[in-house]
Amino acid sequence: MVLGGLFGAVIIAGLYFPILKQRVKQTAKIQPQSEEQARRELTQSLTTNPTEARVKAKLFWASNAHDGSLTPVSIDLPLSSDPALRAKQVLNTLLAGPADPELRTLPPDAVLLAFYLLPDGTGIADFSEAMASSIPSGIESEQRAVDSLTRTLAANVPQVLRLKILIHGQEVETLAGHLDLTGSFVVNPRAAQAAIAPQPDVTSPSI
């Protein structure tokens, strides 16, 4: 009787196992997509708010000369007064690209997943995998991409002194084989220098 019950359980388990395996595989396929989608929706819903004041934002895309240089383009944008949110808004507009797609500096399928601003002025931009995998490999193209990010932030969000780039929440060694992403990039050289300069000792008695 007991043996019969055990035998039955083994047969049921044997039949159910392939179905279970298939379900696990399906779940594994669906999960990263839905996570990416959720993050995208969360970040993009914050980017525009019609009630915010429209200001002339300066965005840096590639110049027509195709010599690796950047040209500032002024665009009217409703920008937040909160620096982290403002940074997110200008970077999303930069990612959306200029009217001429040839002048893009960042991959069209790259997404800004999150932007954080630390108290020391370091901005942390977390981009999707496409930022690293879709950018044309090369020193010139990688440096231009980073320059467009740092110069756009410098022109519109003075509170960001340095920029640290993450790819899908992780620190990576290079952007696409050349540019070093282990450190941070200076956005506002003067302010960044002043921030690390030794402060006068306010506790020392004055004579």
Partner: protein, 285 residues
């Protein structure tokens, strides 16, 4: 040294080891154990770029060849070695053109011509790779850091840029503590380039100047970029990037090779008198 122990019937009972022999064995054992522990500790230490002040270059990877000199081939004072780095390789093809052009293959062919041009100027050339292999960034830097009196030249082909032009890059400023060196004159591995930035700019400008003469549309002076490969290199170091894999005909790139090779060789030769690294056995001053 061993004494047989026998009983009265002359039957062997065993072996007796004299005390003096035991002492000698024990001493030898302790000596070898101490030696092995010391060498194990030194190899387990965090990687540090070999300091220019160190007398003997350190090789971080035993697989990386360190040049040997015969008595008649002692290294001359000053700059006499160029570490040539064809970038990428192995599974990392680098930039890829629509016509199937691969950066990793092109730079290897360019390296051959650059090597010949440099050897014609009297330089000893060491390549970071000779075939389709991909040493790590650190392994490539270690090859340069193990030399005395060397410069590092990394070769690249871009995906973008005006075809037929060439740009030279130098590492952008690196945060350095204590002038780029820590106590004992050692250079931190992750900022090894910091003390050499001024020399790298000089080398970069010499090479870029020669390239600008040959390739119209190329910049007149070296540019800066935060390059991972150059950051850990403790020598004057530049990256040369040729535009680009997007050319329709591969022959367009092949035709650039002699000019690029000649410009690099001339640039390094012009830089030679400027190679002044205080405290470097092979350096001037």
């Amino acid at each position: 040294m061993l004494l047989k122990v026998r009983n009265r019937d002359d039957k062997q009972l065993g072996w007796l080891v004299p005390n003096t022999f035991r002492c000698v064995c024990l001493a030898l054992f302790l000596f070898s154990a101490t030696f092995l522990t010391a060498s194990g500790q030194s190899s387990a230490q965090a990687p540090t770029a070999s300091s220019p002040t160190s007398a003997a270059p350190q090789n971080a990877n035993p697989q990386i060849p360190t040049p040997t000199y015969s008595a008649s081939q002692q290294p001359r004072a000053g700059l006499n070695i160029v570490v040539l780095d064809p970038a990428h390789g192995g599974t990392d093809t680098g930039a890829r053109g629509t016509g199937g052009i691969r950066e990793s293959e092109i730079v290897l062919q360019f390296a051959l011509q650059v090597r010949r041009a440099l050897e014609a100027q009297g330089f000893q050339v060491i390549q970071t790779r000779m075939a389709n292999e991909n040493p790590s960034f650190d392994d490539r830097s270690a090859m340069a850091n193990a030399q005395v009196g060397a410069v590092f030249v990394s070769l690249h082909v871009s995906s973008t840029g005006l075809p037929g032009t060439v740009r030279v890059y130098v590492n952008s400023d690196l945060p350095a503590s204590s002038g780029g060196r820590e106590a004992g004159g050692l250079i931190p591995w992750d900022r090894a380039q910091a003390p050499f930035l001024a020399l790298s700019h000089k080398l970069g400008d010499f090479v870029q100047g020669n390239l600008a003469v040959r390739f119209r549309g190329s910049p007149g002076s070296a540019q800066t970029a935060a390059l991972r490969q150059l950051r850990t290199t403790a020598a004057p170091a530049i990256a040369v990037e040729i535009s680009s894999v997007s050319v329709n005909d591969r022959l367009d790139l092949d035709r650039m090779a002699p000019g690029v090779a000649d410009a690099i060789a001339r640039g390094v030769t012009y830089f030679r008198p400027s190679y002044v690294v205080a405290g470097v056995p092979g350096g001037l001053r």
